[in-house]
Symmetry: C2
Subunit: 392 residues, 2 copies
């Protein structure tokens, strides 16, 4: 039988992820292509303990249906942390729990985008966002992304010309570049948006992971009514629980709630309870210090290796945090070729290509430095240097 | 600022659920309006034990990112159970795990429906499906639903005239009516669809809950290539874990996988592991026998009370399974009025209204018999009888 799929399915970008996953489960291959937090940084015992208590003391409740907006004590924790750490006031009823912040990408697109509606994002921009938005058939308008954030002239022009429904960006340790908006650039973006009817969609998956432990000013703090802010426990606690959140003005959150209820009623309540107990039982700042120590060490190691042990003509970003850096290949090399040859040489990288909505990425590769330890990074980077050397 | 929401948000039906939830958490009100499985039927200790083992033996893996399709041993369990219990062959790679079967409603609509596309469903039909589908702005075509299933003449006419992308139905203990398709009606529906290019979307949330423990022939077994089948652990194990699944032909599943990945990457991996271990450790048939004994008892009690203790002019369906029955009010009474007065009288019912896409439901109320024990059902039904009596 001939199946009659919706037109939107033709807009799905070709997915690298199936291929990537096959690669990442092959033990012969060292993969810098994925985006996993370090398993050693997951506090299995602490979470086991919290889980045990939830089952013992409130199992029947935790295993039942719950509300769409999410477990209130968890939202209160998030609210308090914003206040204490970033100095911004986001009441718990402006926060909703989702299945990892990827779900925000889907639902924000769902509540705002008609087919053909304009959306702005960074160039290069986050692959997961491109995948989620694409299924709503928008018109993408990308803005060059550099060392200090998006190009302001281009941003202003795109917003003036196309009136995008929202500008999606990752101010902290952007994916794929690893680069962070400067304070000046945050203010400039906020100013541009303030004179428009375009929202800022601030994806903050990595804001807790600055190697210096110092928070950066959220755009949400500058233009609260014009900003949707999403966060995630995947990077600092555990991705397998699929718990993230969104913060948005009340009117937006009401629509988001409606879409979330239609999408899956509510997020896993058991894990919300476990996470809430766990967070109440630990020193989260100390836990995060261990993570950023490890990631900072790995990032410096990878940058040093790129500087010292690779063929001339390579360059790379210098992340202040997060889990990724973006390397630019020597002139003439193609990122897909490096991927293909890398797999043969026992190392996987992510070509820059899927991070572009209008072409590009042939000269860049994204490298993950969070998921493995230093020895394996060294071994993988040696393989990669050999592969790139052999292609020159 | 004026927010520019997508047109689809205007298609969201007015949600009863917020109001309902407020009612269901008020301890003074006995609520038949919700759809909770009985908390006493959730095996908290068994799940706690499975959870403990997952944390001890494979915590680091269970807490990491995983694949979009879902945990293979869990899909293998589902596959084996279909084979053993229903005699249908559905290989694990035709099954994907989702966040409760509500997510199937969203994603099936997403992969099939362009704005304005025709969709067929039962009249009355499941409220959660109406909410999910509505956001894709389809043209609904409803088919009268009676004691033995959908009206076949109307079904054939709707399919011939409008060529719906799919016909959504609940053959086992339909929601809201509690009624079950007869075998003849299943065959007739399959035959009608076979001559068309309309798929059958078989929502089987309740197929394990027939009071006689006897399985009914799935439509999926009759027209496998033309049928999408969804299932859920929410009713037999625990809804708070949000684990359901979809079975579909390979080509459909590939599109579904693409939509699922964009929607939230994958379902809670920790709970998939816990559930998989739990299912391997118990006698599921014995567990389900305890549930259907309780629900069968409650259903008979509720039917008897409706027959014996209510004003004349009431009638009701006689479910063979599931969690709901549908009662028809005495002539002249309005279901919204019964809801409003019921809340004042300490009992909540769900008006039939949100189960209709083209008007109706003013004379019916859905009553849940799964969530509470017999004593509370008696007390609640006494209150309801008083409210209805006072309105006559």
């Amino acid at each position: 039988m001939q199946y009659r799929f919706a037109d939107r399915m033709r807009c799905a970008p070709p997915s690298f992820l199936g291929r990537l996953f096959a690669v990442s489960t092959d033990p012969r291959i060292i993969s810098f292509a994925g985006g996993l937090p370090n398993s050693g940084c997951i506090d299995v015992e602490g979470l086991a303990d919290a889980s045990r208590k939830v089952f013992e003391e409130e199992g029947h409740v935790a295993l039942q249906y719950s509300t769409t907006d999410g477990y209130l004590p968890l939202r209160e924790f998030i609210s308090r942390r914003y206040s204490r750490r970033l100095g911004i006031s986001i009441p718990p009823d402006h926060i909703q729990v989702v299945n990892g912040s990827q779900q925000c990408l889907d639902l924000v697109a769902k509540i705002f985008l008609n087919r053909g509606d304009p959306v702005a994002m960074e160039r290069p921009g986050y692959l997961g966002a491109i995948e989620a938005f694409s299924l709503y058939e928008p018109a993408f308008h990308d803005v060059a992304f550099g060392e200090d954030g998006p190009d302001i002239d281009e941003c202003a022009k795109v917003i003036r010309t196309f009136r995008p429904k929202f500008f999606y960006g990752i101010p902290n340790s952007q994916n794929p570049s690893g680069q962070t908006y400067s304070l000046e650039r945050r203010k400039a973006v906020a100013e541009v948006l303030e004179g428009s009817d375009t929202l800022f969609y601030e994806d903050d998956a990595f804001g807790e992971l600055f190697f210096d432990g110092r928070p950066r000013t959220p755009v949400k703090g500058l233009i609260p009514d014009r900003c949707i802010l999403s966060g995630s426990f995947s990077k600092v606690i555990a991705p397998g629980m699929r718990i993230g959140w969104i913060c948005a003005p009340e009117e937006i959150l009401a629509q988001f709630n409606c879409a979330k209820q239609a999408a899956d009623l509510h997020s896993n309540f058991l894990c919300q309870k476990v996470l809430s107990r766990y967070l109440a039982s630990i020193d989260l700042d100390a836990h995060i210090r261990r993570i950023i120590d490890a990631y900072g060490h790995n990032c410096r190691l990878m940058c040093d290796l790129l500087d010292d042990s690779f063929p001339a003509g390579m360059s790379h970003t210098n992340p202040e945090g997060g889990m990724f850096l973006l390397a630019t290949l020597p002139p003439g090399l193609n990122s897909m070729k490096v991927f293909e040859e890398g797999v043969k040489g026992g190392v996987a990288v992510l070509p820059g290509i899927p991070f572009y909505v209008s072409g590009g990425g042939e000269s860049t590769i994204r490298l993950n430095f969070s998921s493995m330890d230093g020895e394996r990074i060294k071994e993988g980077m040696e393989r990669l240097a050999r592969v790139i050397g052999s292609l020159l």
